[in-house]
């Protein structure tokens, strides 16, 4: 796959947008997931994920082709999300939490048509619980945990993406894991 990506990148550098479309197809799920886990909101996540791809396209000439493209792309997306988290304004989205109602989102204000089967409901609740705890983590730990467990990247890759020494990445993952453990131990 790396060979295909390399070839497509050469085409993109020549300005071929169809080739870029193929690159987007390959990475869209992981980049979208990264943004969603970091920001916790589908609209923002889609917006940031799109922005990440657009920045990659615009700056493709500055990409060093000897390196891994995914690392570079993840770095763009991660930085965008961190920036976004820092200057987050109180926007209103459907899946934003309703103030004063713990765990309730605007979606729950809309009556659902089909009742969910119990098992699905349970796993959905678990997913929501885990997502909520991830969102509670401080930026530094959240980024490391998401890259490690959502994107299943190696510690070396994470250290390249975040431009941090391996030891720092390890510490952040350890602390993030410990914080999550304390929150999720009774689930």
């Amino acid at each position: 796959m790396d060979a295909i990506v390399k070839k497509r990148i050469k085409q993109v550098i020549k300005g071929d947008q169809d080739a870029f479309g193929e690159i987007v197809e390959i990475y869209k799920n992981s980049i979208y997931q990264l943004c969603f886990r970091m920001l916790g909101n589908r609209h923002e996540a889609e917006d940031m994920a799109q922005e990440a791809f657009i920045r990659a396209y615009v700056n493709i000439k500055s990409f060093n082709q000897d390196l891994k493209f995914s690392t570079w792309l993840f770095r763009i997306a991660t930085n965008l999300c961190i920036d976004r988290m820092r200057k987050k304004k109180p926007d209103y989205y459907l899946d934003a939490e309703v103030a004063g109602a713990e765990g309730l989102t605007m979606y729950s204000q809309i009556p659902s048509n089909t009742p969910l089967p119990e098992s699905e409901l349970e796993s959905l609740q678990l997913q929501e619980a885990v997502q909520k705890e991830i969102l509670k983590l401080p930026d530094k730990y959240r980024t490391a945990i998401v890259l490690k467990y959502m994107e299943e990247l190696s510690l070396n890759e994470i250290s390249e993406i975040l431009d941090l020494p391996l030891g720092t990445v390890k510490t952040r993952i350890h602390r993030g894991r410990e914080a999550l453990r304390q929150q999720l131990r009774y689930v």
Partner: protein, 208 residues
């Protein structure tokens, strides 16, 4: 309270960075310490939970939305793709462009004065004169010069990039053509080519 270095080993284990010797130390401690064992199990459960939610799909139309937000594609790439998709049209238009190009260039290059060779034509300062009382036989073509007809021309007259004067006594038996603009020039070429082609086809039955 669990010893710090054992917790460190748990994290090394979860990061897949533990050495076999360290793992033995960890295992031995876990067997003897219930507190550490439950902590280790909680950590493993946490990791499993986090991993369990790691399948997300981008929304529909994601790629299309990204592509629609990109800055405009370079023209050259667009042309390349267009040519790949329409090879025949591309070949035809290329041929057309080349033909036009050659016509333009001949128009621009032919700045020299020239005139068809007929013995009784008189040339004076870029003006070709058919003298009074004389009869020129054959087609007269003048390039980049004027033509002054005072006598008689038995044939067609063509003036390219110039003017012709026909005196009251002058007379031309064939057609008179004046070509001054590029488009006239192209039209003239097309007519000439068609005539030549028709002549080739017209000649064939005679040669048989």
């Amino acid at each position: 309270m669990c010893p710090e270095q054992i917790i460190e080993l748990m994290h090394e284990y979860l990061d897949d960075e533990i050495t076999p010797e360290q793992e033995v130390v960890l295992r031995e401690h876990l067997q003897s310490c219930k507190e550490c064992e439950s902590l280790f199990n909680e950590l493993k459960k946490t990791v499993a939970f986090v991993k369990s939610i790691s399948t997300m799909q981008a929304p529909d139309n994601f790629t299309a939305n990204v592509l629609s937000r990109l800055p405009k594609e370079k023209r050259s790439v667009w042309m390349q793709r267009w040519m790949k998709n329409h090879p025949l049209l591309a070949a035809a238009s290329l041929f057309f462009i080349l033909m036009m190009g050659s016509l333009f260039s001949t128009w621009n290059q032919d700045k020299d004065f020239s005139v068809s060779k007929q013995k009784n034509l008189v040339v004076r300062n870029n003006t070709v004169i058919v003298p009074k009382g004389e009869t020129v036989i054959g087609d007269v073509i003048v390039r980049n010069g004027n033509l002054d007809i005072e006598g008689e021309v038995q044939g067609d007259v063509t003036v390219i990039n110039g003017e012709k004067y026909l005196a009251s006594a002058g007379h031309v038996t064939g057609q008179i053509d004046e070509v001054n603009e590029v488009f006239d020039w192209i039209w003239y070429h097309i007519k000439k080519t068609t005539q030549d082609v028709l002549q080739i086809f017209g000649d064939q039955p005679e040669t048989k």
